[in-house]
């Protein structure tokens, strides 16, 4: 799409391409940091209200500065590396985990006028690069020299690798329906009113109604798989506090721990953004051409994504944690068959069109 590189072209025309590339690469970072603060504050407050508490109230009005205070607290903390740790790996892991979740932002279009990269295999890239977290968690857990961390890392690898598959099935289904792997094209094929979203079967008239249950189920499967990939409750057995103390992050402190923390929230956003792109029409307005300018598109995108993030938080503070064998059961014996069926239905829907 010609407008995808609008901002890049704008900068490149007045300066050089290199500067434009750097600036475009930095923009997501400028987004992640304030987003993480908002998400942390939101999580604290939402969880607190659900539990009939007030949440943070001391730092600033209504505790608004709490996430900033937490960042400063983490910055000040002593950076401990255990004696038993494998030091190079121990230090690389937090960087790598953040790289994984940050790189995924490269293909996420915030609006039809801005995507850092309009890669042709964008959705494939996002899936692949966000799996980098597995390596980072494994590195962190193994190199800590702590048994709890090691157990957490084991669980994490099993979990994330398994849940890639139902998630990939969902992506495949959408790719089949949209006939592309390009994220912008996927979004465009959902343009128009909200019943054109892939959640409701994509473009087409009343005859596509039979595919709606399958796409909805697929969306739910993708949502749950993305929870598992982000290690959020009910799949947080990687860091399962009551069993493994803090899982792979047991030995981390200070800035390194903050990186894990930041990566978790960035991952949440990426997962939510992918759901938005795949099933909820991305940046396109739910009201057809009404309110569909570039800035409005950004707003729609953020609103949709943040609703998914809210849903993630809501689920987290409601459900108990699942056990590791049940986790595998759910993945291989429930989600995988169902997602196959749904995938077939979605592919059929494409063929019927």
């Amino acid at each position: 799409m010609e407008t995808t590189y609008y901002i890049y072209n704008l900068i490149a025309n007045s300066t050089t391409e290199l500067i434009a590339a750097v600036i475009v690469a930095i923009i997501p970072l400028l987004f992640i940091l304030p987003y993480a603060l908002v998400a942390i504050y939101g999580e604290l407050k939402i969880s607190a209200f659900m539990q009939d508490k007030l949440g943070p109230m001391r730092t600033g009005p209504y505790g608004l500065l709490q996430p900033i205070a937490e960042v400063f607290k983490l910055l000040q903390k002593e950076d401990i590396t255990p004696d038993a740790a494998d030091k190079p790996l121990f230090n690389i892991a937090p960087v790598l985990i953040f790289v994984g979740s940050y790189a995924a932002f490269a293909v996420i279009p915030f609006s039809s006028y801005f995507a850092p990269s309009g890669l042709n295999v964008g959705i494939f890239f996002a899936m692949a690069i966000s799996s980098l977290a597995v390596i980072a968690i494994m590195m962190g857990g193994w190199s800590s020299g702590n048994k709890f961390a090691l157990l957490g890392a084991f669980r994490s690898v099993a979990q994330i690798v398994s849940y890639e598959i139902p998630a990939a099935m969902a992506v495949l289904g959408i790719a089949a329906m949209a006939n592309t792997l390009n994220i912008n094209t996927i979004i465009e094929s959902q343009s128009g009113w909200f019943w054109n979203w892939f959640l409701f079967g994509g473009q087409g008239g009343i005859e596509k109604i039979w595919v709606i249950p399958f796409t909805v189920v697929m969306c739910v499967i993708y949502f749950i798989s993305s929870l598992a990939e982000c290690n959020r409750t009910p799949f947080d057995l990687v860091e399962g506090e009551s069993e493994l103390v803090a899982g792979y992050a047991t030995e981390y402190s200070g800035m390194k721990y903050a990186m894990f923390y930041l990566a978790e929230y960035a991952n949440m956003f990426v997962a939510a953004a992918l759901i938005t792109i795949l099933f909820l029409g991305g940046w396109s307005s739910p009201l057809g051409d009404i309110l569909n300018g570039p800035i409005w598109q950004l707003a729609w995108f953020v609103i949709k994504t943040m609703s998914i993030v809210f849903l993630q938080i809501w689920v987290r503070w409601t459900l108990p944690r699942i056990r590791v064998d049940q986790l595998m059961f759910v993945c291989w014996k429930v989600f995988l068959p169902i997602s196959f069926v749904c995938f077939l239905a979605m592919a059929l829907a494409r063929m019927v069109q």
């Binding site: 969880s47 659900m50 539990q51 009939d52 508490k53 048994k147 709890f148 157990l151 084991f154 669980r155 409750t233 009910p234 947080d236 057995l237 399962g240 506090e241 009551s242 069993e243 103390v245 503070w317 409601t318 459900l319 108990p320 944690r321 699942i322 056990r323 590791v324 064998d325 049940q326």
Partner: protein
Amino acid sequence: MNETKKIIEYSQIDSDRMRINVGPQHPSTHGVFRAEVEIDGEIVTELVPHIGYLHRCFEKHCEKRNFHQIVPYTDRLDYVSSMNNEWPYIMAVEKLAGIEVSEKVEILRVICAELNRIANHELCVATFGLDCGAFTPFLWLFRDREFALAILEKLSGGRLLYNYFAVGGMQKDIYPELKKDIKAFVKRVRETVVEVNNVLTYNKIFVNRTANVGILPKDVALSYACSGPVARASGIDYDLRKNEPYSVYNRFDFKTSVIREGEERHGCVGDSWNRNWVRVLEMEESCKILEQAIEILPEEGDVTAGIPKKVKVPKGEVYAHAESPKGEMGYYVVSNGKDIPERCRCRSASFVNLACLPDIVRGTMFADMIVILASIDIVLGDVDR
């Protein structure tokens, strides 16, 4: 049962085992319990419990203190249900000294014990949920527990460590709004129990986590002398309030919550879910007792009048027990005719119940170990004394 067997068989495949120290500093060992766990992947093959990190020489202290002074020490055994700790001790001393107490005192004691039982069960269900990863019901129950503690604080003056029971009476009289407070509290507890059941107890994930996990068969439970909800979940109909009605319990209409074969809602007899379920049911029974007790609680009468300045005890020995929320709490008091007991042995329910842990944990998953430990409901103050 078969699944557990399979797991044990599987775990006998020769592979590298890992020994992990769970505790004494661990988020969910409920204090300073230390378990040396040998795991094979995720499966627990052996658990060696180490206790004593919170040992405070209760029995040694008792040999230096007079009968009145021991009461505050008993508070500190099972510090989440202090009233129920005091009661058997008071019963033992009253039995030895031959002191009779008035009806008002007895009913007031029942009220205190039942309020404390609800508070304890709320804490236990809450932490059980927390150990399964559900944080929200934990705080709802804690909020409700505050109301129980508020009533007990208004009665006794203490929030957690009451020292309210005294040999021959109670330390303080009731306060005017007691009945109103208890009515409001009972209403609240019922509401919260419904909420917690919907959010936690009936939740499929929670049921899968806890049902058929850590099965304690009836004969093993009996052999280990388990008591309280742990025994009742295993199908042993053993509730001292019903079996040997002490105090005025025979005047109340309530059921013992026993899980019998074929009556389980989820899981099977003696598993973790049912241990938790017994506690949920018992909250309702305690509410019933409270409602009946405030009807018959006399307003008039001095509850402090019967407290002797010095307890005169003849030579002898007695074992008195009461149904504490954790199980059978008993004191074996030996007196040599002096002001100070010669021996005051405490049978704490947690200590006895915990002994079966290594048996029922073997062959379960590592995450199950935490769940089973939580379902036994130990308080380390009670285990280590």
